[in-house]
Amino acid sequence: MAETLLFNALREAIDEEMGRDDTVFVLGEDVGVYGGSYKVTKDLYDKYGELRVLDTPIAENSFTGMAVGAAMTGLRPIIEGMNMGFLLLAFNQIANNAGMLRYTSGGNFKIPMVIRGPGGVGRQLGAEHSQRLEAYFQAVPGLKIVACSTPYNAKGLLKAAIRDDNPVLFFEHVLLYNLKEDLPNHEYVVPLDKAEIVRPGKDVTILTYSRMRHHVTQAVKGLEKKGIDPEVIDLISLKPLDFDTIGASIKKTHRVIIVEECMKTGGIGAEIIASINDRYFDELDAPVVRLSSQDIPTPYNGKLETLTIVQPKQIEAAVENMVALNV
């Protein structure tokens, strides 16, 4: 076991995969000589050379398309979005080519690529650097969307994403890069499509992902003191959603609260509620509650920013309220 920071866990995942498969390469802005804005590719340039850790010009749409072409012809690119928000400029290539091209080509080509990088609401980074792209991309067919949340799952999931033969959008959170955890010394991968049961419980199912997992964990401490026993599920896979795990939990607790950093309108939570209504309506004892970010551009001001995203106290109150209603 070795204590590892999340950014280093990601770095180890990339290093290990580049070592075992020489078609794996990294590209993006400042990934090479500079070592990545969050040091996820630190020293890899020296180890693997400039073609395998390729510093690109600031041309998001084109280098994303370049990765699509490289993936179609046999390489396994990992794109680092310096900030995932910049990949809005690559929406064309991600949606039309990475996502749809296997289908429109009738299976002629596969597109094994990973698009990863920091996103989410950081500390006063301003609206454009605080985006949650999962909401924009969930409608694109052909993409897998994964959000890591701990050093352990970050490493195992990234390795799985690199080995996957499909385009995977891999979300990291700016505020989680310095999270520490003891990681096993042996090699491991974590399946991309499985939710993680963070805490088994019986009173209510809390569905969450990315940084909000940690807000939920904090809220749970308070809830435990009050004798409430929630089941906490980290979704991990945002597309496809793991309804086996979600469904099993609903059948046990019959109550669901979704905690997300995503915006409310058209967000991941909205999709989950619709799907739960489709599949498990009869299992529900109460309407599904969702705690999401406000539908506003993230304000710069620290106080307003805090009000924009869900806080542990709100989670605690919402769960308490739901359980107290005892329906």
Partner: protein, 342 residues
Amino acid sequence: MVQERTLPQFQAPAAQITADEGLVLYEDMILGRYFEDKCAEMYYRGKMFGFVHLYNGQEAVSTGVIKALRSDDYVCSTYRDHVHALSAGVPAQNVMAELFGKETGCSRGRGGSMHLFSSEHNLLGGFAFIGEGIPVALGAAFQSRYRKDALKDPSADQVTACFFGDGTTNNGQFFECLNMAALWKLPILFVVENNKWAIGMAHERATSQPEIYKKAAVFGMPGVEVDGMDVMAVRAVAQEAVARARAGEGPTLIEALTYRFRGHSLADPDELRSKAEKEAWLARDPIKRFEAYLLEHSLVDEGALKEIRDRIQTRIDDALTFAEDSPEPSPDDLYKYIFAED
């Protein structure tokens, strides 16, 4: 009408070509022309649907460039992709079947006219958005360089030919990719088919510097202008660019001056282009011109050319029968091909 740009002169007699090579080029151009004519017929008879962009008039570009490639090189097209696919070796019957939406189509009926693909023939697409294929082509070229230099595979000397129109050169992807291709000396040919029009937008009205080949200079890349109605001229510049790319000397921007004989798509009434302009370009029909060249130089006789025309006509008829008789994709397969595992 804006004054016509003078076409660059090409010394055809100096070009070396054998009778056999000549027949290959001729056959490919005829195949392209007859195929497209059949598409028009099928479309107007209500048998083919969607947006269908024909290539008539531009055959010398597809043939001149793609026939200068090896079969393991890559071709990346646009929404005007039927003829590029044919030149790249995708059988006419599979292209036709795709346009009929059939399971036997080269994209198994999932792609249609603007999304032709064939991994077997290294045809990377078929892209319906302007310029969207350029970065993908860049990626294929990067892959060749990666295999050669990072993986030390000496057989990785494949070249990628990337086609697009004049209108597309105003899109950012064009500039971004020229920059990267030059920066990393990628083995790629950027082939602009300047047919003067982007739907109804005249090139001069959209472009501050209409001589597109000159834009290569700022990237330190060779840029050449060529008469796109002369297959020999296109072939000559393509061969030179391919040799340079294969030798690791990087990309070339080729601007082929050409013209589409039909409307932008089969849905376009084609009301804007003047009669005089159309007639002037029709007189330069690349197929008639190459026929005359072959005959004048006694490389072949009329009988050999007619034999090709008849053979291709039969092949097109066969392709049509094949397409009509082919099954549609099974509804059970609606979700097939979304992910690699499907």
